[in-house]
Amino acid sequence: MSGARIAEILAAQPPPVSPWRRWRHQYGLAALGGTIVLGWIIVALAAQALAPWAPNAVEVTARLRPPSTLHMMGTDELGRDVLSRLIFGARISLITGIVVVTIGAFIGTVLGGIAAYAGGLIEEAIMRLTDLVLCFPPIILALAIGAALGIGTTNTITAMLVVWWPKFARLSRSLVLQQRSLEYVEAALVAGYGPGRILWRHIMPNSVGPLIVLVTLDVGNAIIIFAGLSFLGLGVVPPTAEWGSMISEGRELVAQWWVASFPGFAILSIVLGFNFLGDGVRDWLDPRSRRQ
């Protein structure tokens, strides 16, 4: 190696960094994501106080008004205030996203844990079922089920749950398999604990990190899919204010861009927030993955 090459390599070493820069480097994204998500949660909780107008108040004389001081994000085709609808829409998006992912994660984790712990025929059956559901793309299967069940938030959540649990079943199975061969599980077995207790009290707490990461990253995903189903006319019953259906109502209105653009930015920001937060949580729980 020539002297010049060595000098080049030395020069490529990062300069020493200040503590603030290191903190930003390590937790910056997570903090940003957390702030966005927290902001939306506050908006959703305080919707009643924050919204300048009632979300479904129709005002025929003020149809399709551009953004102004009176209606900061303009009004839609029925003269409803876009900002107020957007604020109330945060409730539905957050609730559906979190409900779908937590229940889906719970079902998947339990099934995956049982599969890994029971082994044999039970494991085979559960994992084949998992593969089976995974070979249907979520939006099409949810569309089919949702169409069959009918329009409405509960039905759409049910449809999404049917397709949502398998990835968690796969992850939790592989995590439990990893843990099961470790010594502390053997110790618990020797101590005479039953499988339920070992699974719930010993293995799960040690496997929970990657599950939390997947849950956080997945909420954004669930919010997008729910909004997509709403856009297609499934998610909510009109006139409920929901971001996907707001975009659907404004999709023909190119000149009145504000009707469809703002709800889209809302979805984008909340999804980015959950993605940042998930990446941050992963770095925090598993330093090896940092800066890959």
């Binding site: 070979c135 069940l149 404004g250």
Partner: protein, 336 residues
Amino acid sequence: MLRFLVARVGAMLVMTLLATLVVFLIANTVPGDPVLAQLGDQAASDPVFVAEWRHQYGLDRPLWQRYVIFLDGLRQGDLGRSIRSRRPVLDDVEEYGPATLELATVSFALTLIVGIPLGILAAVKRDSWVDHLARVISLLGVSSPTFWLAFILLAVFYGYLQIAPGPGRLGTIALPPPTVTGSYLIDSALAGDWDTFQDAAAHMVLPSIVLAAATIGLVTRTTRASMLECIRQDYVRMARAKGSRESRVILRHVLPNALVPVVTLSGLAYAQLLTGAVLTETVFSWPGLGRYTFLSASALDFPAIMAITLLVAVTYLVINLLTDISYAILDPRVRR
């Protein structure tokens, strides 16, 4: 290798059979009643008419009989008859399939042409502005709702700047080229009709960008991560130590190894593009299977929904199988 192949194909066939059961159960055990959705109030209130209609579509038989009939039809290539279009679903698939195939294939090409070089650059110029740009592009691609992205692009490039054509596959006055393959690009080129070719290509730009947005992000991220993994290996240091030029080290030593996971992902990405077109096609009024699925679901046209869902699952399984096989060819360790 042969044993590997037999095992994979066998597993795929079992999965396909199970998929038919899932699809059948969804369509036949859930509460939605196609009678009301299809016949309208007046016809639905006439019991004789309803009974006749139910009989015509076999809805009055027990569940297991309907499943056997469904399977027997599938065996003969009969996907059922659409309630909405009143003709065999297979005919509908033949009509709308090529539009989806064309769009997905163009989006797939776009995904690879943008995603792989961007991923390589991001890895080689790590922490530079290219890397940050790649990260922003993939994050935005994965995080923006497709239907909204479609609206924004249409509003900007069609509505305001007027440099892109509107929704649909061709302009309103244009006639489609004589059908050979069903792909307007190929058919118009075959007919030597370059005006139509240009028209079709222009109509392709926005939908393919929208459809490819998410997959570009995935491919970029995977290529980057895999390149970084490979750059650290000893054989790369060896190549550098021997004095190979950096471009040669990257392109000849790192890249071929780094692309193995990308190949796997590409298979899945293509499946995702083929099946993920529901929202994109709906916004762009693209007369493909995605829009057809949406229209069928809105009309509770269960035979059509069943057939499409099944078709999609089988497409997915086949692409998965092909990916596994290509993976086994690229990496002999997988064959066990």
